[in-house]
Amino acid sequence: MEEIVANFFNAEIATAALPLVASGILNTILLSLMVIPLGLAAGLVLAVLAQSKNPLVRWPLMAWVDFFRAFPPLVLLVLLFAGLPFMGLELGGFACVAVAFMLNNSAYYGEVLRAGIDSVPNGQIEAARSTGLSSTQAMTYVVLPQAVRNVLPDLLSNTLEVVKLTSLGSVVAVPELLFAARQAQSTTFNATPIVMAAVIYYAMLWPLVRLLSRLENRALAGRH
Amino acid sequence: MTKIVKAHAIHKHFGALHVLKGVDLEVAEKELVFVIGPSGSGKSTLLRCLNRLEQPTSGSIEVAGIDMLSPKTDINHARQHIGMVFQSFNLYPHMTALANVMLALRKVAGKGKAEAETLARAALERVGLADRGHHRPAELSGGQQQRVAIARAIALEPKVMLFDEPTSALDPELVGSVLEVMRGLRESGMTMIVVSHEMSFARAAADRVIFMDQGLIVEQGPPAAIFEQPTHERTRSFIGQIRQH
């Protein structure tokens, strides 16, 4: 028992690792604040384009979405980080994470938002257009607000996954929370910093998990 | 005459709500008892206490000689003998009509597949749906679904049947087919307790009508007496309201 405490819950090591871990938290938050809006924006573009009836637009979009649903984000990240320098392009870890996540999340957010837009009855657009709103205005003021509300659980669930995915940054030396924890762990030969990171992730994300679980249960129960 | 249902001093609380306030109900073999009353009067709850879908707070219930509230009673075995038909049919949507009827025959009554199928077909035939066995509930009309639900219950050869507003969810033109099946059951000597507002059916088929209000039985008697000369003001105004429909 004492050994467990010394190796996993060591107060001395935790204190020493605190500054490093704290800067890791900050970077994880910054990273999230960067990749969530990027992914949402790219996804929104895809979702709106997907309303097109033209197969020349629809098919490539579907291929794009399926491609990124099949492709592990870490592979994409490593491909950018390790592959691009061979073309003389060194983006650095932070930028690689931004690009890789934007591509990956465009597919996921795109699918969610598309389903949301599809869930708004056509009559809403017709009513908006009949009052003289342009198609862009109808989309912005009438369709999208309802679409987002209809798929809010899925949007939040995806956002939770995005925040968790920022931990992949550690693989390409972005000093986010997991990277900082591993650094502290490898210099102290003690697992306490990683436990710290886990506890911090849990504390940050648990409220969202709880909220989601309520929303999801309600959404499923409402299907009858 | 032997009493097949003996319920005494039934009380039921839902939290602070006192839904049944000491109800006594005895039903004789082959009797058809009709229970009427405004919504919230406790009539559905009473029905659901009889097969212990609701656990009464206090009181005693004996059905077909089985003490329903004793912890020693195998409730699943006991329920075989008490058929129940619900307002919303509650057919299993993922199974055909035949499979709906067969499930309890196989799992509760322990019949083999062939025997269960024979019995299920016979039950469907009794409700006039011999040719619908392979249809899913979604492919049947409301009236047909409710008749399958009746077949599901009678296939187990219950000693008593409980009907909880069996026609309330049906379109008016489909009500007749369900009442027809219930009339047939009555003629075959089934003991039945029916919560419903189908007054003309009650008048024609019921042995006794019970009027419930606010968790108590207000009065009871033969249909003609209750419908034509109710002694209580509450009964009179309730029957007046129903007539206006």
Binding site: E3, F71, P72, G83, L178, I194, A197, L220 | Y92, R152
Partner: protein, 234 residues
């Protein structure tokens, strides 16, 4: 004009030489194939165990034993909140100090199985609770026991609702096998990365990427079909 075309051709040739180098690809193909095998093996074991344990947890939760349910909810929430990579790293680098050194394969399998278990428990549970109360009552009124009702009446309806979300979640989590590369697992990405550093050429990464697509594109296409077929009706 002419020299521009020559330059473009030369550039294209260099691009192909760098990223699609046939020689390098041929040399490392066996490595990538080996990695593919490891990925498939790992993915299959994760899917079977993760979904299996998730279903068991959901069924236990249906029994409505208070303290047990609190425990299930706590574990599920925890596993949904933690990034899978953090769990993998914790098991692989942390557990040895507690006296157990799981292999990279073991760490990755265990972590992703736990994560899939948590997500599928939530999905199964949502499915079970979504089945209308009347279904329980009808089944119980014919004498079916709690367990019989759950298995023959409720689960078949619940599972239908869970197929689409479960497929999507399963794909997302099994893609996480690539995370094993962080704990020295020789799956596709791990093999491709070491081939890149040995050959000073990124072609093996392209090969690895292709391997993932070959593995997962069919699954994604099937998932899309399932989604359409089992779309919520009513």
């Amino acid at each position: 004009m002419h020299s521009g075309a020559v330059l473009a051709v030369a550039g294209w040739n260099k691009f192909v030489e760098t990223f699609f180098n046939a020689q390098v690809m041929a040399k490392y193909l066996p490595d990538i194939l080996y990695g593919t095998l490891v990925t498939v093996e790992l993915a299959v074991l994760i899917v079977i165990a993760g979904i299996g344990f998730g279903l068991v947890l959901a069924l236990v939760r249906a029994l409505a034993i208070r303290p047990l349910n609190w425990l299930i909810v706590f574990v599920v929430d925890l596993l949904r909140a933690l990034p899978p990579l953090v769990i993998i790293v914790l098991l692989y680098f942390g557990l040895p100090s507690a006296g157990w050194s799981p292999s990279g394969f073991m760490s990755t399998w265990l972590s992703l199985t736990l994560v899939l278990m948590a997500f599928s428990e939530e999905i199964f549970w949502a499915g079970i609770t979504s089945v209308h109360k009347g279904q329980w009552e009808a089944a119980r009124s014919t004498g079916l026991s709690f367990g019989q009702t759950l298995i023959h009446v409720v689960l078949p309806q619940a599972l239908r609702l869970t197929i689409a979300p479960l497929t999507n979640r399963t794909i997302a989590i099994t893609k996480g096998t690539a995370l094993g590369t962080v704990v020295a697992l020789h799956e596709i990405l791990g093999m491709a990365s070491s081939a890149v550093s040995n050959s000073y050429n990124p072609s093996p990464l392209i090969l690895g990427a292709a391997a993932y697509l070959v593995l997962f594109i069919p699954v994604v296409v099937v998932a899309r079909r399932i989604e359409t077929k089992f779309a919520w009706k009513k």
